[in-house]
């Protein structure tokens, strides 16, 4: 490349380059069953933000196990049970890409 940053490993091979595409980990948090959480991350203003949702600690398999609704709006990630539904415990992984 004509400009940018390459970082090499000890063996001389390329380990990382600014030509690569990365997602930054902004936050990770656990949302308890039936709980609501809303977090704002001003540092990611203008970035693309995604929130990955993962069930945690063995949700029930013999009944309806609802994940909460997760809404990403700008720099705010909101998690809450769907209307008239209970929700299971989940992990939220918030990632951002410039």
């Amino acid at each position: 490349m004509s400009y940018g940053l390459n970082v090499y490993k000890a063996d001389g091979s390329l380990g990382f380059s600014t030509l690569d595409i990365v997602w930054m980990q902004i936050d990770q948090f656990t949302v308890a069953a039936n709980a609501s959480v809303s977090n704002t991350y001003p540092e990611v203003s203008g970035m693309t933000v995604i929130a990955q949702v993962q069930m945690i600690n063995d949700p029930p398999e013999s009944q309806e196990a609802y994940a909460p609704e997760v809404i990403v709006s700008g720099t705010t990630v909101s998690v809450a049970p769907y209307t008239s539904k209970t929700s299971e415990q989940v992990i939220i992984m918030v990632l951002a890409q410039d």
């Binding site: 000890a10 997602w23 069930m55 013999s62």
Partner: protein, 307 residues
């Protein structure tokens, strides 16, 4: 900024920052066991659940690297005890051979152990928290997006309940296979090198129910009709699962559990005094529907960059 470090690419995107943490390769989770597989019933290919563990004080972001790219994969759930994380991975088909590999990534500050003296390390302004450390193979994403599976998992369409069958009718006429029900997004790269991070959220239960009936003449001196009813019901539970194939990432389904029940009853007043009986292999978890049907974020990465 007045101080610190940012690496910005030609599109103006921040690639390395002293304020935001990059994800780095922690290691591969250890395969501990599988449940033996099962539920290859009613036209479905069945599934097997592999269990993995890895130890870290951070919450890992996990990528699945299939060994057999024709099978559907997903992390069904994860749990933590102390600093040991356990992952249950569902894979379509019942074979315990070719289990997938799980590549785990954590924030830079949760990595340790390298003795390498080459590379680039970036700290936050506190001087102690690493946000980037090239010695631990930073996570590089080659693709991603948001994708939901097809709304109805069954290849034959959503099964129905029908009546008017002969009494004691118990012949299944529905294919519960789900390999052809998926939504796709285009991806690039040599697909047999790729791995994905995509939790399984959507799940569904569907049933095929056939209701039988007959009316037999009551013996003399009685008159009229003695009614007989029967119900045969096959059900399948599915979990959202994913597949990488040449040029595409698919969100589809894998079988999770299945069952069958049969019951028959007849009214009193005929040859017999009324009654009935039944047979069941497991209970349907809930009434037929798909739940958690939403697009979940997924990411694709090249596994060959990591140990």
């Amino acid at each position: 900024m007045s101080y610190g470090f940012s690496a910005i690419n030609t599109s103006g995107q921040v690639i390395i920052s002293d304020e935001m943490e990059s994800l780095h390769f922690l290691g591969k989770a250890t395969l501990n066991s599988n449940d033996g597989g099962g539920h290859a019933n009613y036209g479905a290919s069945g599934r097997i659940i592999f269990t993995y563990t890895i130890t870290t004080s951070a919450t890992p972001l996990v990528f699945i690297k299939p060994s057999d790219y024709s099978r559907w994969h997903a992390i069904m759930t994860q749990s933590v005890s102390g600093s040991t994380w356990t992952f249950d991975v569902i894979v379509s088909g019942t074979s315990s051979s070719n289990p997938p590999e799980l590549f785990c990534f954590v924030n830079a500050n949760s990595t340790s152990g390298t003795t390498s003296t080459h590379g680039l390390v970036v700290w936050k302004s506190d001087g102690t928290t690493r946000t980037f450390d090239s010695r631990y193979s930073p996570l590089v994403i080659t693709g991603g997006g948001s994708l939901a599976p097809a709304s109805c998992p069954s290849d034959d369409g959503c099964p129905t309940t029908t009546s008017g069958h002969p009494w004691n009718y118990s012949t299944l006429d529905h294919d519960f296979g789900s390999d052809n029900q998926y939504n796709s997004q285009a991806i690039s790269g040599t697909y047999t090198d790729l791995m994905f991070s995509a939790p399984s959220l959507a799940q569904g239960v569907y049933k095929r129910q056939a209701e039988g009936y007959k009316c037999s003449d009551k013996p003399w001196p009685q008159s009229g009709c003695q009614e007989h009813w029967s119900t045969a019901m096959w059900w399948m539970m599915y979990r959202n699962a994913f597949r990488i194939r040449s040029g595409y990432f698919d969100a589809g389904w894998a079988t999770y559990s299945s069952g069958y029940s049969f019951s028959s009853t007849f009214e009193s007043g005929g040859w017999f005094g009324g009654g009935g009986g039944g047979y069941s292999t497991g209970s349907m978890p809930y009434t037929a529907k798909t739940i958690n049907y939403t697009s979940n974020a997924y990411m694709i990465a090249d596994s060959t960059r990591y140990g």
